[in-house]
Amino acid sequence: MSVREFVRSKVPTDIDRFDRRLALVSVLRPPSGLIIPLVVLLAFMFVGPIASIVLFSVQPTNTISLAVADWTLDAYREIVQGTISGKGVYGEVTTNTIMISALTTVIAFAVSYPAAYALATKVRRFKLPILIALIIPLFTSVNIRVYGWVLFLINEGVFDLLAGSVGLDAPSIIYTRSAVILGTVYVYLPYMLFPIYLSISTIDDSLLEAAADLGAGRTKQFVDVILPLSKPGVIIGSLFVFVLSLGAEVEAELLGGGTIYTAASNISYSFGYSQNWPLGSAQAVGLLLITTVCGVVILRTIDLTEIASRGGSR
C-alpha cells in the first residue's frame, strides 16, 4: 500500500474537500506533541554526529576539514581487504571483538539466568537489598570499576597477595583476552540480569498454578512455561550485552593493557594516536552497521504483542 493509499484509507470519503484536507493534516500529524522534545534531542545529539562520521568515512586519509566533493571509499577498502586477508591489525581486531562479545554474552547469560530466576521466584527475604546491591555498581563510573580490577589483578596486587597467602601461585590473567572478558562480563552483567528478572517476574503465577493443575511437574513447568515466557528477557539481555561488548573500549584498553585490540579500541586509536579520522569513521560506521543488523534481526524474533499483553490483560 502506498502512502497515498494509506492516507486515503484513513480519510472518510463522504466529507467535503475542506474537511478532507483537515483530516489529512491530522493523519500526518505525529501521534502526540509530547514526543517532540525527544525527537529534537535525538536529531541534534545522535543523527548529527552520525551524519558527520558517515561523511568523514568517505574522505581521503588524514583529512581534517571536510571536503564533501572529494570523496573516496579508500578507508572502507582498507578495512574490508584487511579483514578478509587477515593481514595487519584487522584480523586480530575482528577475532578479538567477536570472541569477547560472544563469550561475554554466553557467560553473562549462564550467570544471570539462575540468579534472575531465583530472585524472581524464590528469594523473598532481602530481595530489595539484593536488587539494590546489583544496581549500585551502575552508578559508579566504568573507568573506576575497571581500574579497581586492574589494581586487583595486577602483578603483586591484591589477587596475588590473596593467592599467595593460601599457597597458590596462580598466574595473573591481567593483560590477556580473559581479563578483558572478565571486565566486560562484570560491567554488562546487570544488562542481562534485569531483563531476564523482569520477564520471569511478569509471568502470571496463575500460569504455573494452571500448569501444576494440569499435571505438569516442576521440570515441565520450567521447560514449557517459564523458559519460553522468559525468552524475550533473554533475547533483549543478550542483545544489550553483545552490542555493548562490541563497543567496549575501556575494558580492552585497561585490562588488555594496550595489547588486546578490539574494534572499539582500534577506532579510538585511529582517531587519537594516528589522527586518521576517515579510517576511524569508516570503522565506526562498520561497527554501527553490524550492531544495527544484530539489533533488527534479534528484535524481530520477539513477540512484542505477547509481552504487551502481560500483567492482567486477557
Binding site: 502470571d204 496463575s206 500460569l207 498454578e209 494452571a210 500448569a211 501444576a212 493443575d213 494440569l214 499435571g215 505438569a216 511437574g217 515441565k220 514449557d224 512455561v225 519460553p228 515466557l229 513477540d303 504483542t305 505477547e306 499483553s309 502481560r310 492482567g312 486477557r314
Partner: protein, 358 residues
C-alpha cells in the same frame, strides 16, 4: 462422591474458611455462592490443592486427597482469568495436560474443541492471544477437560464476559455436565448463574455454609435474612416478637396492618427478627386488599421494560420499600408520585426469619 469434613483455612488470625462440611455426588453440578470475600475461592483452591487446609479432610470416593499435590489430584481448575499459556496455540494449550500425563493426543484435541463448540479447523492453530474472551473461556474449558478430571472446579470463569455470552455459556456448561460423568463445582457471587445451573447450592458467608439445598428449596425457604436478601431483591421489616408458643409467633410491628400471627418453628430456631417479602411478591394499591400491608407514599415509579419498580416510603418510620409490579397493574391503578397507598401482600409470601450473621 466428594466429601469435605471440618475443612478450615486460617491466615494468621483471620479465618477464611471455618469448619466446612459437605458432600457432593459424582456427576452433579454444585454451586458455591456468596458475596466477595466470603471464602468461596479459598475453599475452591483447597479442593484444587493450591492451598493446604489448616485443618480438616477432603475425600474423593473414600480416598483421602487432603495432602495430594495439584499435579496428582484428579481435579482441574478453570481459572477466573482462564490462565491460558500465551506462547502456545489453542491446540498446544489443550495438548499440555495430555502431554504432561505422558499420553498421545490421537485426535482428542479435535474432539475436545468440538465439545466446547469451537471449529477445530478454524481454531486449532490460532494463537490464544488472538481469541476473544468467550473463545478463551472455551479453550480453557477444553484444556481442563483434556486432563480428564473427576472434578472440574470453576472459579467464576464467566464473570468478565458480557451478559448474552454468559447466558449462552451457562447453558452449555450444564449440557456438558449432563454429557460427562464429571462433577462440576462452580464458584460465583452471581445468584442468577447459581440458580440456573446447579443441582445443589451452597450459600456461604464469612467462611461458613449458611444454607444448602436445591436452588428451589433455598429460593423458597431462605433460612435467614442474609440468604433471603442474597437470593433476590426483598423488603425487610424488623419485628418484635411478643409471644412464641406451639410453633407460632405473635409479633408487634408499629405500622403493619392485618395479620400479626405467623407459623414459626421449630422451638430451637433463633428468635425471628424480621419479615422478608420479595419485591415481586408485593403490590401497591390505594386500598388494603391483601391480608398484610403498610401505608406508604409513592416516591418513584421506574419502568424496567416488562415490569415497573414502585418505590415507596413508609409513612411513619421513613423506611423505603419497593414493589415490583407488572406494567398493566401500574397503569390500571394509575399510580403517580406522592399518592397515598398500601404496599401489600399475602401471608404465604412472608418469610419470618432470624437475622443471620451479617
Amino acid at each position: 462422591m466428594l466429601k469435605a469434613t471440618n475443612l478450615r483455612k486460617e491466615y494468621g488470625s483471620t479465618v477464611a474458611v471455618e469448619d466446612v462440611d459437605f458432600e457432593i455426588e459424582t456427576g452433579s453440578f454444585a454451586t458455591i455462592v456468596g458475596p466477595s470475600g466470603c471464602g468461596k475461592s479459598t475453599l475452591l483452591r483447597m479442593l484444587a490443592g493450591h492451598l493446604s487446609p489448616t485443618a480438616g479432610q477432603i475425600e474423593l470416593d473414600g480416598i483421602d486427597i487432603t495432602d495430594s499435590s495439584p499435579q496428582s489430584r484428579p481435579t482441574s481448575l478453570v481459572f477466573q482469568s482462564w490462565s491460558l499459556f500465551p506462547h502456545m496455540t489453542v491446540a498446544e494449550n489443550i495438548e499440555f495436560p495430555i502431554d504432561a500425563q505422558g499420553l498421545e493426543s490421537n485426535g482428542r484435541i479435535e474432539t475436545l474443541l468440538e465439545q466446547v463448540r469451537l471449529d477445530p479447523e478454524e481454531y486449532a492453530n490460532k494463537q490464544v492471544t488472538d481469541l476473544s474472551g468467550g473463545q478463551k473461556q472455551r479453550v480453557a474449558l477444553a484444556r481442563s477437560l483434556a486432563y480428564e478430571p473427576d472434578i472440574l472446579l470453576l472459579d467464576e470463569p464467566l464473570a468478565s464476559l458480557d451478559y448474552v455470552l454468559q447466558k449462552k455459556l451457562q447453558r452449555e456448561l450444564t449440557e456438558l455436565n449432563a454429557e460427562l460423568n464429571t462433577t462440576f463445582i462452580y464458584v460465583t457471587h452471581s445468584l442468577e448463574s447459581a440458580l440456573i445451573m446447579s443441582d445443589q447450592l451452597f450459600v456461604i458467608d464469612d467462611g461458613s455454609i449458611i444454607q444448602r439445598g436445591s436452588p428451589d428449596e433455598i429460593y423458597q425457604e431462605p433460612v435467614d435474612k442474609f440468604v433471603a436478601e442474597f437470593m433476590g431483591d426483598a423488603n425487610v421489616f424488623p419485628i418484635d416478637v411478643v409471644e412464641r408458643a406451639d410453633g407460632r409467633i405473635r409479633i408487634d410491628h408499629p405500622v403493619l396492618e392485618g395479620r400479626q400471627e405467623f407459623p414459626y418453628g421449630p422451638a430451637d430456631r433463633p428468635v425471628p427478627e424480621c419479615l422478608v417479602v420479595r419485591h415481586d411478591d408485593t403490590v401497591v394499591k390505594p386500598s388494603l386488599e391483601h391480608e398484610l400491608g403498610i401505608p406508604v407514599t409513592v416516591v418513584n415509579v421506574l419502568n424496567k421494560g416488562n415490569t415497573a419498580l414502585v418505590e415507596t416510603r413508609d409513612k411513619h418510620e421513613d423506611a423505603e420499600y419497593v414493589s415490583e409490579m407488572s406494567l398493566e397493574q401500574v397503569s390500571d391503578i394509575s399510580l403517580t408520585v406522592d399518592d397515598d397507598a398500601y404496599l401489600q401482600w399475602n401471608p404465604d409470601k412472608t418469610h419470618v426469619l432470624p437475622k443471620g450473621d451479617s
